[in-house]
């Protein structure tokens, strides 16, 4: 499994890594005061990096399927590669936050306020929420290359279309308000060691279920 992740890294580092500083710098510059918006916007941005791990070149995936790995092993490695890449994105943003803090001390102060375990857990919950829906979809589209991107773009357009239509008719919730209140609730939950433990276990179970679902989808796929 780690051999697959190593191979992915060799291929991806040349192709997509330049995007990481650009996107994360934009993020920090956009949200120097780092309130809840940091999660609302930041999590999808970091998640985007993990998508690059999934949607590689079709031929590269077929090459991987011809290598000495089981399909289940490939599925697990893809899943973990996604999370590893998100982890790398988070670390990068922290490092960059400190770097920018040398130029913008106020931004650094705000940034440091959010560098705690509570924030990390909230962040992990937000990312897990996204991956619970997005990873199975990505696994369905694996190996389809450009088609996957188009399908994703269409899907997002439909979602945004419906959302804005609802907002226009004042029948739907303001999604950002909903997300903000969710994040505030998550932060409020993480107060005692027992709550942290419960939170960590729940995250593990949720991601375990998601991994099994992704494996199952991958085992049924044809390339």
């Amino acid at each position: 499994m780690f051999e697959i992740m190593k191979r992915d890294w060799i291929l991806i580092r040349h192709k997509y890594l330049f995007l990481l500083p650009i996107l994360s710098m934009s993020l920090v510059l956009l949200f120097p005061k780092a309130d809840e918006g940091y999660f609302v916007i930041g999590a999808p941005v970091v998640f985007t990096f993990s998508v690059f791990v999934f949607i590689q070149d079709d031929t590269s995936l077929r090459q991987l399927l011809s290598m000495p790995f089981s399909r289940a092993g490939i599925a697990r490695a893809r899943f973990l590669s996604g999370w590893a890449f998100m982890g790398a994105g988070m670390v990068y943003i922290v490092v960059l936050g400190f770097g920018l803090g040398l130029i913008y001390p106020e931004a650094l102060k705000a940034f440091i306020q959010h560098l705690d375990l509570k924030t990390l857990f909230t962040y992990l919950w937000v990312l897990s929420g996204i991956t619970l829906i997005a990873y199975p979809v990505l696994f369905m589209f694996l190996g389809k290359g450009v088609q996957a991107l188009i399908a994703f773009a269409l899907g997002l357009n439909v979602l945004f279309g419906v959302y804005f239509l609802m907002r226009f008719n004042a029948t739907g919730p303001d999604i950002f308000e909903v997300l903000k209140s969710l994040i505030i609730s998550l932060q409020a939950y993480h107060t005692s060691p027992l709550n942290y433990l419960t939170s960590a276990l729940t995250l593990l179970i949720l991601n375990g279920i998601n991994l099994k679902l992704c494996e199952w989808i991958f085992l049924k796929k044809e390339f």
């Binding site: 190593k6 070149d57 079709d58 031929t59 590269s60 077929r62 011809s66 290598m67 000495p68 089981s70």
Partner: protein, 284 residues
């Protein structure tokens, strides 16, 4: 021991299916898989590699099931697909680095030798390579990790005659190591001349024949007949009959069984691979 053993393989699509495929490739031999475009060659390779999921049957590679022991089976395989290279923006060096990172038996010396033999520059990006150069690079990768079973889907396609000859020669060199076996597909029967130990013909998803070169040379014959003897076409050793300007050309897989049924002065020739394919695919 069989390098590849396939029994009762079935794979269906809406408009095409592989039907009851049975195939054996013993260790140390080269098998040529011949068929027209769309005959099922690539589908067969993809099913062996588990890129396509079989409906029924068994596939074993050196005794390992290709699904339940997938990693073990694939560790013995080098597979070159029809479209061997992607990642156009990435250099050959990076491609190699990624490929070699998963094979503990990677032979860098051999890889470098093959690159210089094929005149390939490691700094070049994949998108700048011609089809022939991509195939050569794919072959260099495939042959450098000491796989025991080498599967090549149309390796000679897109190559000029000189390169074609070079690649075929290389495959023969690989077989100096008797623990290795090769299955390669082509729709050009001349690729097989003097190289394939086994000939397998596939048409419309079915294996029409799979036979050893020596058996073909000893038993198979093409008969030139002015008239067809009564009932001869129903004999199971008759593999195909084609009407010709002088009468009929008949392919038999066992000349001894037909001796008494044909005129004594009938012209009988050892068929080449093209003759066999034409009679079996086109003949009645």
């Amino acid at each position: 021991m069989n390098a590849l053993h396939i029994t009762g393989l079935t794979k269906s699509f809406s408009k095409f299916s592989l039907e009851n495929i049975n195939l054996e490739l013993p260790q140390g031999y080269i098998m040529g898989l011949v068929g027209k475009n769309g005959a099922g060659k690539t589908t067969l390779f993809k099913t062996i590699m588990n890129h396509l999921l079989k409906d029924d049957g068994e596939i074993q590679i050196y005794g390992y099931d290709h699904q339940t022991d997938e990693a073990q089976a694939k560790s013995r395989i080098a597979y070159l697909s029809e479209d061997p290279m992607g990642m156009g923006e990435i250099s050959l060096k990076t491609q190699k680095e990624a490929f070699a990172s998963v094979y503990p038996d990677w032979d860098e010396t051999k890889f470098q030798l093959l690159l210089s033999r094929f005149n390939l520059d490691q700094k070049a990006k994949t998108k700048t390579l011609s089809k022939g150069m991509k195939v050569k690079f794919g072959i260099a990768l495939a042959l450098s990790h000491n796989a025991k079973l080498i599967l090549l889907d149309e390796p000679a396609a897109g190559l000029d005659p000189v390169a074609r000859n070079e690649v075929m020669g290389l495959l023969q060199e690989e077989l100096q190591d008797e623990s290795k076996s090769i299955l390669f597909s082509t729709h050009v029967t001349s690729d097989l001349d003097g190289i394939a130990d086994y000939l397998t013909i596939i048409d419309q998803g079915q294996i029409l024949m799979s036979e050893n070169r020596e058996i073909i040379s000893d038993n198979w014959r093409i008969l030139k007949l002015e008239d067809l003897p009564t009932g001869i076409s129903s004999q199971d050793v008759v593999q195909g009959i084609i009407p010709t300007s002088f009468g009929y050309s008949l392919l038999t897989s066992d000349i001894t069984k037909l001796r008494e049924r044909i005129p004594a002065d009938t012209q009988a020739e050892i068929p080449n691979y093209a003759d066999i394919m034409i009679h079996m695919v086109k003949g009645e």
